[in-house]
Symmetry: C2
């Protein structure tokens, strides 16, 4: 049994896989929920990486490969998604290691811990221990607001409160609002500066 | 056309995919060549990560997923290997970002550039630019020796010499010999200390 720092038991999110005609990218609810934000971050990373401001990549989806097609050099015919034990993004900024996860929610009032896996919390705590930079990018879709939230702040709140979600008011108070624009879509490095380099 | 820093044109390694009965792990010659070393590094990382000495992970193999089996939540039925544009390993050590690639060779005399992709060189140069730690772990199987080679040293040599490989003598002179043992199999962090923290 896996538990959150506040003692709550982790229950994996249910997946809706009944429809046979769903397009591939809709297979996993949990993954799909973050699609718009993910794309914004990927484009911002491309912009930042090209300018040489940082070097951040999305980690490839972990896949266990079982069978390949021997007539083709690159085709895989049987594979399985593995459980992700780390986060979506990592890399280097101003010489420091940076590691973060992106999540978005439709809720008006809070950001649920539901989609944060306990393994990710363990991983992000190790990042902090190694003096790396660890945070979440949380988008509150209802308000069209995207925040950087330091893991230190999130974990401290989680440990002191038995809630299953982080209230929006906490995000507003402790989070760093990320300016959105055209290029980069998300000026998240400036939020990183305010949060970690001040 | 992709070129190495010394102007040599990059020709992707040929793959032998003719036999229909090869086990999965033998499909790709180039990938397979590094299997023993990779396992040693993975086990060493596990050891180091568990002790909290660093946080280094192997990047998952990048795969483009095309079709999934809708009756199972985790099965992929069609996917393709994507070209790797980064390295095998990255993470954080003593607060600094660390990024490296592992290679082994049977040769007695040199380490061929053949399996280093130009994109990987671009990536590792960006790591250096961001003040990260970048290196290769090179195993000379004939001598049962494993070296850490700083990317700065490798790239400087590549740019000054038109050879297609790095001579063993250069590895012995500029590389940092990695002590091998039982646990960790490769004491590569002590070589990192000597190479980057002295």
């Amino acid at each position: 049994m896996i538990k959150y720092p506040n003692g709550k038991v982790y229950i994996p999110p249910k997946r809706d896989l009944t429809s046979e005609n769903k397009p591939v990218k809709n297979i996993f609810n949990a993954a799909n929920r973050g699609m718009g934000l993910e794309e914004d971050i990927n484009l911002s990373n491309e912009y930042y990486n090209n300018l040489g401001l940082c070097l951040i990549y999305k980690r490839p989806t972990p896949v266990r490969i079982v069978k390949c097609d021997y007539s083709s050099s690159r085709k895989i015919t049987e594979a399985y998604f593995s459980e992700k034990s780390t986060t979506d993004y990592n890399g280097v900024y101003k010489g420091r290691y940076m590691d973060f996860e992106a999540k978005e929610t439709e809720s008006k009032t809070s950001f649920s811990y539901h989609n944060i896996r306990p393994q990710q919390i363990i991983h992000l705590k190790s990042v902090i221990k190694q003096n790396g930079i660890a945070f979440f990018i949380v988008r509150m879709k209802y308000y069209s607001e995207t925040y950087l939230l330091k893991c230190e702040d999130l974990f401290a709140y989680m440990e002191l409160n038995s809630r299953k979600s982080l209230p929006y008011s906490f995000l507003k108070e402790k989070g760093y609002l990320i300016k959105e624009g055209y290029s980069p879509r998300l000026e998240y490095l400036s939020a990183v500066d305010r949060a970690f380099f001040n």
